[in-house]
Structure formats: C-alpha cells, structure tokens
Symmetry: C2
Subunit: 215 residues, 2 copies
C-alpha cells in the first residue's frame, strides 16, 4: 500500500523520483509501470493514475530528464571564446556522479528515440540547439583569434559535439579508464587540435598539415 | 500458424532475421518474444522454443549484431598509416542503408548494455578492441610521419573513436543534415586537425597553437 499523502505535489515528486531511479538502474528498456510501482512501493494502479500508458510514462521520463539537465548546477561561465567553449563541453561530460546518472539516461533514451518519429525529431532538435550553442562559442573564439578565422564555425561545432558525445559513451562503459581528469585532458587535447588545424588560405594557419609534420 | 519447415537451419535464419527486423524498427526496448513472433508470423510458443527468456533473446540479438558487423563488406584496406585510419573510421559510419541499420541497433543496444553488468563489460571490451585497432593505425601513421611522432597514440585512438561514435549519433538522428559525403568530409577535417595538432617538444610540431593563430 502506498503511504497516505495529502500533498499532491509531493506525491508527484515521489513518482518522478521513482521514474528517475528506474531509468538510472534499468535503462529506458526497463522503464515500465510495474517497475515504477515497485520502486515506489505502490500498486500499479496508482502509477496508472499518473501515466495511463507506456507512452505517457516515457514522455514524462524525458521531461524529467530535460528539466534536470536544464536545472543542473553548471560551471561558472568564463569569459567568452574558447574558454567558454571548453566549459560548455565539460558541462556535457560525466565528471560527477549526478552527471554520470544523467548521461547514462540520455544515452539510454536514444534507443527509444530512434524507434519513435516524434521522440527522434525531439532529439534532432536538441542536437540542433546544442550545435547552435557551441557555434556561438566557436564564433566568439574566432573573433578573439583563438580558433582559425577561416574555419566554418558550424563544422567546428559539429565536430565538438561529436567528440564530446562519443567521449561520454566511452566514459560510461569504462569509467575506470576515464576518470574526470582524463576526460578534461582529452577535451583540452581536442581543442588544441581544433586550434592548430590547418585552414586552406587562412594566412599563417594555412600551412598544410604536411608542413607541420615532425618528420 | 508458422509455415511448416523441415530445415532447422533455415528456420533459425528466419528467426534471426525476425529478431534483426524488430531491433531495426522498434529498438532494443521493443525487442520482446511477442514482437519477434509477430514479425515471424508465428506463435509466441514457437519463439520461446528458441529463446526461453528475454535475456536469451537479447543475447542472441547482440550475437547477430556482432556477427553482421564482423561480416559486413568493408572498404578495401589501403596502405598502412593515416589512410588506413581514415578507412577504419569510415567503416564505422552510417554511410549506406545497411550500415545505418547496424548503427541504429548498436546505439540502441547501449541502453540495455548500461543496465546489465555483463553486457556492459562486453561493450567495454568491444571499445577496448576498437581503440587497439585504431591505435595500430595511429602508430603506423606516426612512423610514416603522417601524425605527430610525440603524440600519445592511445590518446589519438580514444579521440578518433569518440569523434566517430558521436558523429554516428548525430547522423542517425539528423540523416538529412549528414549525407555520406558530409560525414566523410568531417572525418577528413578531424584527421587534418589531428595531424596539425601541436605536440609540446615535438620539433616543428612543437609550436603552440597560439603561434598558429591567424590573428
């Protein structure tokens, strides 16, 4: 039997917390009304009161995930430019226990999102926003002379998001290989590579990679 | 009623094909005995004959995925070095329809793998093998003077795998934004950045990124 609660808002928070815990431990594939009820110590009937269908449960799960991601504590944004780009990338990575849980759930949501046109479109739109945010930092860095001025900022934003998402996945599966300091070092290495990259026709940056070869 | 088949091997192939189609269309989260039976036009009882549990079904699904990935047609490996590294990265990307399906299923499997210690360890071991394979190409490229000789080859392999995995995810969700030629161009841009990166103390490559700034 669920504990008697008169506070509807508090009950909703409990339900959301139970959904979160099920996702964190069992993934999106394990997210069922029954699992949420078990986590909550309540009947499936009570959970059905909140989520009439599996789809409603998944929609709520993604809403919690989005909300927690928006509201998570972030690093104090530094001055604009490459330092801000670095901070934005670090903010994505699983550098703390709570960020690891969120990332685990985000990565887990891709399976469901790829199988559902609406959820897939939502994820594509989320990627669009991420690229646009990173691109603003790239453009500021270019204006400050911290990234090659002639490089396509959209391309650098795509590369930065790709690198960071892929690092998230490796770090989630091999946490011992990717402690926070190594993840940070890899971001710095990646940014150094972006800074150093040759851009055809971009003045001093235009020297081809062949010319920088140590041999 | 399932069609009568005397050929056990053929029946197994049909079952595997049905598992593959369910994964491709509904994701790992949609992979159930019932869904496979429906895809096969057979009874759930017949499917239970092959997979006594959900876990056995998932294990078989991952085995098919691994087998198809191993056996997929690959690009003819070019000479060693950075060209071979490039080919290895292109071989991961969703550049064709079948590779898109396989990638969709791989990405979808991460949710299940993150929730199961054994499957998670399997995925970590798979990443280990991918990094080791890329690292061999990196080392050959370094010996040929195509990548900075003083760079840590393991680090470059990690970066290359991260970049490629993350590009897979963006391309799966936004296929119209990432046609094959753009994915290939991004790989080339990434490799150019790796080649150009500054390596402290690596002779001519040792010039810091600050010195290459176009401003």
């Amino acid at each position: 039997m669920p504990p008697a609660k008169t506070d509807h808002a508090a009950r909703r928070r409990d339900v959301s917390e139970a959904v979160w815990k099920v996702m964190a431990s069992q993934g999106f594939g394990g997210l069922t009304l029954r699992a949420v009820a078990a986590q909550l110590g309540a009947s499936t009937g009570l959970v059905t009161h909140y989520f009439p269908s599996k789809q409603a449960l998944v929609a709520h799960a993604l809403a919690i995930l989005e909300e927690r991601t928006e509201q998570r504590p972030r690093r104090v944004p530094p001055a604009e430019g490459i330092a801000a780009l670095r901070t934005a990338l670090l903010d994505i990575l699983p550098l703390s226990a709570p960020d690891t849980v969120s990332n685990r759930i985000w990565v887990g949501s891709w399976d469901t999102a790829l199988a559902d046109p609406q959820l897939g479109a939502d994820q594509a739109a989320r990627d669009d926003r991420s690229r646009a945010r990173l691109r603003r930092h790239v453009e500021a860095a270019q204006q400050r002379g911290e990234l090659p001025a002639d490089a396509d900022p959209e391309r650098l934003a795509v590369m930065a998001l790709a690198f960071t998402h892929g690092l998230v996945v490796q770090a989630l599966f091999s946490p011992a290989l990717f402690p926070p300091e190594r993840q940070q070092q890899l971001v710095d290495d990646f940014l150094a590579a972006l800074r150093a990259q040759a851009v055809p026709g971009a003045g001093s940056a235009g020297q081809g990679p062949e010319m920088i070869s140590p041999l």
